[in-house]
């Protein structure tokens, strides 16, 4: 396989395991988030639009009502003058009193000259109405012949002039209404109005961020909460929303992208607009986008975070998936190895079973051989022993001391041979399972007393101090007397064998907690701690024991343990090299 094909396969694996699932997940997440995000954004914009239009309409209604009321009342005044020309002066002054924002009112003839006028108190130095006097910025005594709105009024149409702005008066306008008589319109009622109400209305936007401004037909700003902004006379016709309101005469609800713009402060704004036909004006309500559509940013951030977290989770899942895939492959390999190992183990087990069977067979043969050999040896040994004993007893004639020594030596060797054969036979029977135990409920004291008598004598011969503490009565124990005698005989024989003259052996029996305990304590050579655990194993002989006595089978304690355990009892040993040993046999009460 070439490097290039390997590389292609690796790339394909990456695409399948990572890029494709990640892309699909990303697209899915984006799609799902867009499904809720776009309607949510639309709702936010709609809510902002509704709120802004409500505020705008409130202001527009205030202004519209104000202008309409002014026009209506002025027209009424003009009608009163038409009906009663003599009361014209009273009507003019009354209107001035009712409308503090009317700087100047006048009754104007067809040629544009003021016939009568009235001024707002304080608006002139004298406070006296005097035709012909002129106040800068107002129409005092001025001919109205050059004003187009005057001619429209002459045509019978009440109308507001274009709003103008001056530093001393702010936004102001002229209102011209016809004074209609039966012969037509020969006079016009002119009112010079300060539009302070306009500024007040646009300033009275509380509770929401942003501000309202008003533009005239040309798009020039004529009202703003900050009069300094108005005095700049900026033309905002370049703004699409202003065109929509002033050119198209449409309400701009702020939902169209072209309604938004960046204002003179460089701030991105959300804006709505309403045309105000009564004076050819347009009202625009602009709010900082961050304030009006504050929820929009939060929603977008939320959606981005959701997509990001989703992608993060997908990466984690993909990573885990890839790791699981790797793990799965490893597990498969491991399972294959285990299967092979299992097969091998089965083979080994079969081999071991066969070997074991072979060993058991060999052991059986060995045991049988030992049994047969020991059995076959016992008869001649018994004969030899009997011959030696007969010779020593003098039944065949007197023996001299030299002969006696030889005979006694031969008898001793024969007796050791008998012991060895007996031990071998016992072991062979134990291992063959033919070591019969015949339990009989009885007291162990007689057996122990008999053995104590025997070993008392043997100890005295050796110069070892032997003591026994046997109670008169002990609870009965179910035991095979012949086998149990082998047990204690072995223990006492070992004690005597490995205890030097002058030292002590103590035999003690007692009953404790439902058991009968027999203890043999000596102050002999003891057993080292390192070998203590092997005391009851076959053919074990402690190192110091071997040094003291070359003879010994190492089978006695093995036989002891097997016999005791077959009586449901226990045998333990405590020993320290050089200080002696304690063997305890515990048998359950019958």
């Amino acid at each position: 396989m070439s490097f290039r094909s390997l590389n292609r396969r690796a790339i394909r694996q990456i695409v399948i395991r990572w890029i494709l699932p990640f892309s699909v997940t990303a697209l899915g997440l984006i799609a799902v988030n867009l499904l809720w995000l776009l309607p949510a954004l639309r709702n936010i914009r709609t809510s902002a639009s509704v709120l802004a239009l409500e505020v705008s309409r409130r202001v527009e209604t205030t202004i519209d009502t104000d202008l309409a009321t002014t026009l209506r009342d002025t027209q009424r005044a003009a009608d009163e003058i038409a009906a009663e020309p003599d009361r014209a002066s009273l009507v003019l002054n009354r209107l001035i009193r009712e409308y503090p924002n009317m700087v100047h009112v006048a009754r104007v003839s067809r040629n544009g000259e003021e016939l009568q006028e009235a001024d707002q108190p304080g608006s002139m130095d004298t406070g006296v109405s005097m035709p012909g006097m002129f106040m800068p910025g107002t129409s005092h005594g001025h001919s109205h012949a050059a004003h187009p709105h005057f001619y429209i009024a002459l045509q019978g149409i009440a109308n507001y002039e274009e709003v103008t702005v001056s530093p001393d008066r702010g936004p102001h306008t002229m209102l011209a209404v016809p004074i209609r008589r039966n012969d037509g319109v020969e006079e016009v009622f002119i009112a010079d109005l300060n539009l302070s109400n306009l500024v007040r209305a646009v300033s009275d936007v509380s509770g929401v961020a942003g501000h309202i401004y008003i533009v005239d037909r040309s798009g020039v700003q004529i009202a703003h909460p900050d009069i300094a902004q108005v005095l700049r006379q900026e033309n905002f016709m370049v703004r699409s929303i202003v065109q929509k309101v002033m050119v198209d005469g449409k309400i701009a609800d702020g939902l169209s992208p072209e309604d938004a713009y960046v204002n003179e402060q460089g701030e991105s704004v959300f804006a709505v607009g309403i045309p105000m036909p009564i004076a050819g004006l347009g009202l625009i309500f602009e709010q900082p986008r961050t304030s009006a559509l504050g929820g929009e940013r939060q929603m977008i951030i939320f959606a981005v975070v959701a997509v990001f977290l989703g992608l993060l989770v997908s990466v984690i899942i993909l990573g885990a998936n890839v790791r699981l895939t790797h793990l799965n492959a490893s597990m498969r390999e491991l399972l294959t190895d285990l299967e092979n190992a299992g097969k091998m183990l089965v083979r080994r087990d079969l081999e071991l079973t066969r070997a074991n069977a072979r060993l058991e067979e060999l052991d059986q043969i060995k045991t049988e051989f030992v049994s047969i050999a020991a059995h076959q040896l016992r008869t001649p040994l018994t004969g030899i022993r009997w011959s030696y004993q007969t010779l020593l007893d003098g039944d065949t004639g007197p023996v001299n001391p030299g002969q006696r020594r030889l005979l006694e030596s031969g008898l001793g060797a024969t007796l050791r041979m008998v012991d060895l054969v007996n031990d071998l036979l016992s072991v062979a029977r134990i291992e063959e399972g033919k070591f019969g135990i015949y339990l009989r409920k009885q007291s162990i004291v007689p057996l122990l007393a008999r053995l104590a008598g025997r070993y008392q004598a043997l100890a005295e011969e050796k110069g070892v101090v032997f003591s026994s503490a046997l109670p008169q009565v002990l609870p009965d124990v179910a035991f095979d007397e012949e086998k149990m005698e082998i047990v204690f005989d072995n223990i006492l024989d070992n004690a005597l064998k490995y205890t030097e003259p002058g030292h002590t052996i103590a035999l003690k029996a007692s009953d404790e907690k439902g058991t009968v305990r027999v203890e043999v304590r000596d102050t002999g050579v003891g057993i080292s701690q390192g070998q203590l655990h092997r005391v009851f194993t076959k053919f074990f002989r402690a190192d110091n024991a071997v040094r003291l006595h070359t003879s010994g089978t190492g089978l006695g304690l093995y036989v002891v343990k097997n016999i005791v355990e077959k009586h449901a009892g226990t045998v333990t040993v405590e020993s320290a090299e050089g200080t002696g040993s304690v063997f305890r046999v515990t048998l359950p009460m019958a």
Binding site: L20, V24, L27, A31, L38, P148, I152, N159
Partner: protein, 337 residues
């Protein structure tokens, strides 16, 4: 498995693209349309207005031959107005722009009963209410809107101006369209002149004309020995031959109070009326509103932003009149060449 995933990916992608297309379909820019405008002019002196109109239209984004085409027709005879309008309608114009009351009336009559009336924007009508082309200044209610020239109502002021520069003036001449022609603006101008003259103690001498050719003989009859001054009203037939009246006024050294800037520039001593170039620009703004979809029925009729008092000092010198300083101070334009 791979095929399934790929298909799923393609589906999601297609769904996303579809979703974005659907949500943004409303924001697609409109295909740029080409508009055809028929401009009908009756009378002279409207050249500045038409020029102002085209200039403003260009400022508003209407490039000639690119997205707008003008068919401009100058007509003198009243009888030629209807065929001109018919020609526009045959061409399928999107809007008719008119100058003069008769031109506007003809355009209105030709379009008002159409299933989808072609909008009409007038650049100069003395009294659109009187002309019957709109029902109200604020809400025209018809397919017509535009800029009123106020030429009829300002007739009175022209008389007053003559009296102001020559308090001794008693005999004032006024050429006008004959009543039988049915030019309502001209008739009203005459009436206003009569009423004002009565108040001012002025004797009016009227020179009615029925056709364009009548203007020259009418002008020849206006002589210094009988006349102290001359005015015109809102009268497109007279305006169409204004040159002969101006020439006569200079020849006879008669102060002539005319209407608009172009007439003063041609030699009339005084003028009181709009700057037609500005009126043309105002008409362009109204045209733009209509082309953007607004109904003319709801677009208020406009008036000139300002009425100008114009003086021709050269003519004043030529006819031997020295205008008072106070009068000159009131003048918005003084022409001296």
């Amino acid at each position: 498995m791979r095929t399934t995933l790929l298909s799923l990916g393609v589906l999601v992608l297609a769904a996303l693209i579809g979703f974005f297309w659907w949500s943004n379909r409303g924001n697609a820019p409109p295909v740029e349309k080409k508009y055809y405008i028929g401009i009908l002019v009756r009378g002279s002196g409207y050249e500045a207005a038409v020029e102002g109109y085209r200039r403003k239209m260009k400022e508003l984004g209407y490039e000639e031959e690119k997205n707008i085409v003008y068919d401009i027709r100058f007509v003198s005879a009243k009888e030629d107005l209807a065929p001109a309008v018919a020609g526009f309608l045959k061409e399928g114009v999107n809007l008719i722009h008119t100058y003069s009351t008769p031109a506007t009336q003809v355009a209105y009559r030709a379009t008002k009963d159409m299933p989808h009336p072609v909008p009409v924007v007038f650049g100069s009508v003395g009294d659109p209410l009187l002309a019957g082309v709109v029902r109200d200044f604020g809400h025209p209610g018809t397919n017509v809107t535009g800029v009123s020239s106020l030429s009829t109502e300002t007739t009175a002021h022209r008389l007053e101006l003559l009296r102001e520069i020559n308090p001794g003036a008693r005999r004032i001449a006024m050429p006008h369209t004959a009543p039988e022609n049915g030019d309502l603006a001209a008739d009203k101008s005459v009436q206003i002149a009569k009423d004002t003259a009565l108040k001012l103690g002025i004797q009016m001498t009227f020179f009615p004309v029925r056709v364009k050719e009548d203007n020259n003989p009418a002008a020849q009859r206006i002589l210094r020995k009988n006349i102290d001054g001359m005015i015109v009203g809102g009268d497109s037939l007279v305006w169409g031959s204004i040159d002969v009246y101006i020439a006569q006024s200079i020849k006879e050294r008669i102060p002539f109070a005319a209407f608009d800037l172009s007439q003063v520039q041609k030699g009339a001593l005084l003028g009181f009326g709009p700057d037609y170039a500005v009126s043309g620009e105002q008409s362009a703004i109204l045209t733009n509103q209509i082309l953007r979809g607004r109904s003319p029925a709801e677009i208020p009729v406009e008036v000139p932003h300002k009425l100008l008092l114009m003086v021709n000092q050269k003519t004043a010198r030529a006819i031997g009149i020295s205008l008072p300083d106070a009068f000159l101070k009131k003048a918005d334009r003084i022409i001296d060449q």
